[in-house]
């Protein structure tokens, strides 16, 4: 069964460093998302991406964040200068079909630890 994959599973970085989190969505899906979950808190929407552009972003997704689909399979989240409060689980998700309102399939997440 197709699934969303994410790498790395755990990333440790120093404050101020750039990190790139990688995701491979399900191959025939058209909509891609990033969410994050700070330890013990609810899952929060960051950004959605469709047709090679951002379709919606939250207030969390500031200028330090960017997303890219560099090729036909990868979907990346870049944090330019990490802060301590960026420590969280980051989940990639994708959904398919001709309408956006479908179930979203999540990857296993990348745990980001900023020291």
């Amino acid at each position: 069964e197709p699934e969303v994959t994410q790498t790395p599973s755990h990333q440790v970085t120093q404050m101020g460093q750039e990190v790139i989190l990688r995701c491979v969505p399900i191959s025939n899906h058209l909509y891609f998302y990033w969410y994050r979950q700070i330890l013990g808190q609810k899952v929060e929407f960051l950004v959605s991406f469709y047709n090679n552009e951002i379709s919606e972003k939250s207030e969390i997704f500031d200028d330090q964040f960017s997303v890219e689909r560099p090729d036909g399979s990868n979907f990346t989240l870049k944090i330019r200068s990490t802060k301590l409060e960026d420590s969280a689980m980051y989940f990639c998700a994708s959904s398919g079909g001709v309408v956006v309102y479908n179930e979203q399939f999540f990857g296993p997440g990348t745990r980001l630890t900023v020291l």
């Binding site: 609810k42 959605s48 989940f91 998700a93 309102y101 979203q104 997440g109």
Partner: protein, 108 residues
């Protein structure tokens, strides 16, 4: 106030019993989805109910949706120890807005 509040926050029941979790949301939705998360793991999609549906079944899962009250419930029948996890509702208007979750513990 936050969108998506589940209650109870935590629920412990004996294996074989039914578990009911409730969820409220704030704005109009296209659909509502329920997810499960094992500790420290990813989110597994369980079931999606569209705004024009009132009830949906999938295996041991039964979901109801009341758009007039902006609420939904998830019923897991004949619970098993493996059902122990956190359960989240997520209201959907393209992006998902997650609730705070119910931590369900099934006691063998």
């Amino acid at each position: 106030s936050q969108q998506g509040e589940e209650d109870p926050q935590a629920l412990s029941i004996q294996e074989g019993e039914n578990a009911t979790m409730n969820c409220s949301y704030k704005t109009s939705i296209n659909n509502l989805q329920w997810y499960r998360q094992n500790s420290g793991r990813g989110l597994v999609h369980l079931i999606l109910i569209r705004s024009n549906e009132r009830e949906k079944h999938s295996g041991r899962l039964r979901v109801t949706l009341d758009t007039s009250k902006k609420s939904s419930s998830l019923l897991i029948t004949a619970s098993r120890a493996a059902d122990t996890a956190s359960y989240f509702c997520a209201s959907s208007n393209e992006k998902l807005t997650f609730g705070t979750g119910t931590r369900l513990t099934i006691i063998p």
